[in-house]
Symmetry: C2
Subunit: 374 residues, 2 copies
């Protein structure tokens, strides 16, 4: 059994921020250091998806480590939009190896200063060139997936909208969230069309933000018990199914096996809801509900904050916001807070095992992380 | 003692290549797979510095893993121009952790299709904004370092040029090198001025290329015995010295300690000669020669292919070429070939311990790797 623990966490409020990326990371890292009471690190692991283009800064791991006043080993990890989970997994392996005892993991992105068309074009670089040449964007391909899911499993527009309603409600209780107000189902289903059937409130926003997490080999309350990671074909066109993501399914299997646990043992989960339909698909890929049953579970209130299996208590990418390289780590930090009983107004009941699932690109670089309260 | 071995390596010819980045990686990975006889991997570790801007492709770890026909876990590592070493170190830790047995490490960059002014501007993003705003580029800051070194230690223009003469000679024996022809000292010191005192032949070229390396937990001939990694201030202005790089010195100390060896035990080394003066500084930072003594050692022929401590038998970044994200891994692969006795026309005599040193940015993210023949 690996002895790798989470010793402390920090996060900036997500949203439109005026600070630089390294100042945001500094704020989150300071909070994590205070939380953990650890001040000396063997390495700094940095997650950021595309700072070279988003902010014009290269060499970001050195930029950030210098800003933190350190000259420790530092490297940047990137796995498209699952980068925050990717950097956590790489840091886990470094501690599990026995070479490092305390590692500072940070993840951040700064994007809101760019015109939406520019950031959308940059984001589209994660899509297969075979699909990009036809003008496909992330929302366009997600819409294709959503429409197919609605066709195969009879999901209706109203149920889809309930994901946004639930997650905005949760976000309204989270002081770190980009959006801290509730939305009505009417507002969701009447919002501006982005790519049919996905409307504005079906899509996570572009946000700025950073978070930080300290891993240690010394026994702490929260242990990292399961990790899984898998990729899938770059092109959607090359897959057998559009309505489930094999990279999540394969990553989940590995994570459950490593943690010696099963979907029914999970008390709380953060899943990658960059689009409302993805939350429904994710909860099926993770084995929480049978294929096609994610919508009904949502309607039944099972995934609400007070339900049997709260999903995205933080508000998810939908309401907490989506600074792309940070989201995967922010999910894990939410699970840490939930297991520690430190999630304040959005605290779920007595959670012992929590799971975070992150999607990279069009669901082709996905990671699953399981934490347990010792 | 860690049980992590290099099982096989592959490399494309560096230079101006028409293939895509993922096709170049495919070519190198195929060679490494044939060399190692390993076909099943637990993960694919990808090093590339800035494909988003250089080639317009994001999500590069998935792009490459898909091109290799795999759906294994994959992530990208970046540490500016030391990326190829950074990805090797991260992959080492993953095998040392016991979670992975066989890992495919690939690194590549494609840059020559860009106009030089464009690639130079993109490369300058690794420099501190405090220095970039004055128009500083990598060669301009390297020139500052070089001039100061010449002033402090009396290095002359001719001795500096001998680095290029030696490395081009070595490159002429290396079928993977970008430049495979010798140059005379006259040609070097009369070449076009880039940034005084650095001339065209003092600077590594911009190249395309890829390489691949397979790490395994199963006993093989070549063991990874020492690793060290350190960062330094982003700005040159914040350092105590311009004529030595503390990140190399600190990384070297860690690598020697881990390998339980010392500079005098090293039989062959690849060092980061993006600029001729850097090779001289590197050989001092690594403890091969006393401070200020690197030039004399070069003049005495100690670092020649047939000398007591051959430096850059491959031709170095100077002649093998410098696809930025690949160079750090290419150095390690050269050491692997030298220790295995497979370096063909550039083979050095009976090397048992070899070292590779890579510089990220303006020497602020540096790594040292030591391999040993078992």
């Amino acid at each position: 059994m690996d002895k790798v623990f989470v010793a402390g966490c920090g996060m900036t409020r997500f949203g439109k921020r005026d600070e630089s990326l390294s100042d945001l990371v500094f704020e989150a890292a300071k909070m994590a250091r205070e939380d953990s009471k650890i001040e000396e690190f063997d390495a700094v692991y940095v997650g950021s998806m595309n700072p070279d283009e988003f902010t014009g800064d290269g060499n970001i791991s050195t930029v950030i480590t210098d800003r933190l006043g350190m000259t420790k080993p530092s490297l940047r990890i990137e796995t498209a939009s699952s980068t925050g989970a990717g950097v956590f997994h790489a840091a886990f392996l470094s501690v599990a190896s026995g070479h490092y005892d305390n590692v500072l993991v940070v993840a951040g992105e700064k994007m809101t200063h760019l015109p939406t068309q520019k950031s959308t074009t940059m984001m589209a670089k994660v899509i297969s060139p075979l699909e990009r040449i036809y003008g496909a964007t992330m929302p366009a391909l997600a819409a294709l997936v959503t429409r197919r899911y609605m066709h195969e499993y009879g999901l209706d527009r109203e149920t889809l909208g309930l994901v946004a309603v639930k997650n905005h409600y949760n976000g309204s209780l989270n002081k770190y969230a980009h959006f801290q107000k509730e939305v009505t189902l009417e507002k969701v289903i009447e919002s501006k069309m982005v790519s049919d059937p996905l409307r504005l409130y079906d899509c996570a926003p572009i946000s700025d933000g950073a978070c930080a997490c300290i891993l240690t080999s010394k026994e702490k309350e929260i242990r990292i018990s399961g990790l899984g990671h898998a990729t899938d074909t770059l092109s959607l066109a090359h897959r057998d199914s559009l309505t489930g993501f094999s990279a999540t399914q394969n990553a989940a299997k590995k994570a459950y096996d490593m943690a010696k646990t099963a979907p029914k043992e999970v008390d709380v989960a953060e899943v990658h809801d960059a689009f409302t339909s993805f939350e429904i698909i994710d909860t099926e890929d993770l084995g929480f509900f049978k294929k096609g049953g994610g919508g009904q579970a949502l309607k039944d209130g099972i995934t609400k904050l007070e339900g049997d299996l709260p999903i995205n208590p933080s508000g998810g990418l939908k309401a907490r916001g989506h600074p792309v390289g940070a989201s995967g780590l922010a999910q894990i930090i939410e699970i840490y807070w939930q297991l520690k009983g430190e999630a304040q107004k959005r605290q779920v009941d007595s959670a012992k095992i929590g799971l975070a699932q992150s999607i990279g690109g069009l669901a082709n670089n996905n990671l699953v992380t399981i934490l347990e309260a010792c």
